[in-house]
């Protein structure tokens, strides 16, 4: 720098000379993966009864002239898929941006609709809602005393809570695996496979677990067999010892529960899945109100041992 140039006074202002990057940074959100895999029911305003048709054993028996059809040979087992009414709302006064440094991104003049980053913010707002939905379908738990201001994850029971209740009610029986580690993950999933109904072994089954358990499975597999397991585009892996696919579900958080059942046995209910992208915009003087209302709930279709196989970890 030339010594002829005095920057002493200018340097004193250094703290005030800043460049504002014209973009925003956000966390990478994950999408509503579960809804793409399980059975989705539309048009549910309140409850939908899913009915399992059950057949008793020994439908066929030795011939004799007398007609004696089995008593209770065919049964109907109802499961209730109930949706909860939820809403997402956002209020914005774009002119308020002018009271801080972000105001420089507003255009000249006072147009109350001039909201910098509008598309970007709304796009990520919807993604964040998708993330909350993904978390809720697995981890939501309806409290004993709900209030009007409860978050989505307190408005219905997710799959993990339903499983916990099914175990308490002795409807299903957990397989003891103990804590899953990088030395026992493969063996423990195999233990669960042993309990699975043989018809599902033919037909194929899905195994849902958290990313944490999924990583332990892959590490255990690598150490046992000295090779990496092949993954598909979504990261799911086809297990080579059976007709089963292991899926890592971000919505399961840090749960150690492993759920083995066909994906079609897991159900999600909506009034309309389109409601999740149906943004409403309303002007209230200087304020812009953005909102969407939607209904969401989940249920497990057939909840019986050998069809819904789970481990003993929560």
């Amino acid at each position: 720098m030339s010594k002829s140039l005095s920057l002493t006074n200018a340097a004193a202002l250094q703290a005030f000379v800043q460049t504002v990057a014209p973009d925003l940074l956000v966390r990478m959100f994950y999408k509503f993966k579960t809804a793409e895999m399980v059975r989705v029911h539309e048009g549910i305003k309140g409850r939908k009864i899913l009915t399992e048709l059950t057949f008793a054993d020994n439908l066929v028996k030795k011939w004799r002239a007398q007609f004696d059809g089995n008593d209770n040979a065919v049964g109907f087992d109802p499961r209730i898929l109930e949706v909860a009414f939820n809403k997402a709302e956002l209020s914005v006064i774009p002119q308020e941006l002018e009271s801080n440094y972000l105001g420089e991104f507003r255009k000249k003049g006072q147009n109350q609709h001039d909201w910098p980053f509008e598309a970007f913010i709304l796009d990520n707002w919807v993604k964040k809602i998708a993330q909350e939905n993904e978390n809720a379908v697995w981890r939501a738990a309806l409290p004993a005393s709900p209030t009007a201001t409860d978050a989505l994850a307190l408005t219905f029971d997710g799959y993990l809570e339903i499983i916990k209740d099914l175990i308490s009610a002795t409807t299903i029986t957990p397989v003891v695996t103990g804590a899953i580690s990088i030395t026992n993950a493969v063996g423990n999933v195999e233990k669960m496979w042993e309990v699975l109904d043989p018809s599902l072994k033919d037909q194929g089954v899905d195994i849902f677990c958290s990313w944490q358990i999924y990583s332990k499975y892959l590490q255990d597999y690598r150490e046992r067999y000295g090779k990496y397991i092949g993954k598909d585009q979504s990261g799911s892996v086809q297990l080579d010892w059976g007709n089963a696919t292991l899926h890592a579900m971000a919505g399961m958080g840090t749960s150690s529960r492993i759920v083995m059942t066909p994906a079609a046995n897991l159900n999600i209910g909506f009034d309309s899945p389109g409601d999740l992208s149906n943004l409403n915009f309303e002007d209230d003087h200087r304020q812009i109100d953005i909102w969407m209302d939607y209904k969401l709930g989940v249920q497990i279709g057939i909840a019986r041992d050998t069809i819904l196989v789970v481990n003993d970890q929560v």
């Binding site: 909860a84 738990a141 309806l142 409290p143 004993a144 005393s145 709900p146 209030t147 009007a148 201001t149 408005t155 219905f156 029971d157 209740d165 175990i167 308490s168 009610a169 002795t170 029986t173 957990p174 397989v175 003891v176 695996t177 103990g178 804590a179 233990k191 042993e194 309990v195 150690s256 041992d305 481990n311 003993d312 970890q313 929560v314």
Partner: protein, 117 residues
């Protein structure tokens, strides 16, 4: 109003001012009453909003697990399920309580079907 017409302009002005002042105080009183009613309604709304929603409240299920505890080492444990799968066999927790080696195995495995008490 006819009585006001008989007064001088100054007197008319004073009478009108007094009339308006009276009307203003009546309006202010009504406004206060409305505000109080509004506050009462807001309180009632808050109370209603915070009430549990009867139809969607969760009913906790009573556990079917045996209440009897067992001791391994110096620690006391209890089953939290009525039955479980162990080595591909379905075992009733009641029966497991009679099998000490199985209980030891469950503790060693860190089984989630038992909990320390």
């Amino acid at each position: 109003m006819d009585a006001i017409k008989e007064l001088t302009p100054k007197q008319q002005l004073a009478a009108l001012k007094e009339q308006f002042a009276n009307q203003e105080s009546v309006i202010l009183d009504q406004q206060k009453q409305l505000e109080m009613q509004g506050e009462i309604l807001l309180d009632q709304q808050k109370q209603i909003e915070n009430l549990p929603t009867q139809e969607s409240a969760k009913v906790e299920l009573k556990s079917q697990a045996p209440t009897k505890a067992f001791v391994i080492g110096k620690q006391k444990y209890r089953f939290n399920v009525a039955a479980f799968y162990w080595n591909n066999e379905k075992v009733r927790s009641e029966d497991a309580l009679k099998d000490e080696s199985l209980l030891k195995d469950l503790v060693e495995a860190g089984a989630g079907v038992i909990e320390a008490v």
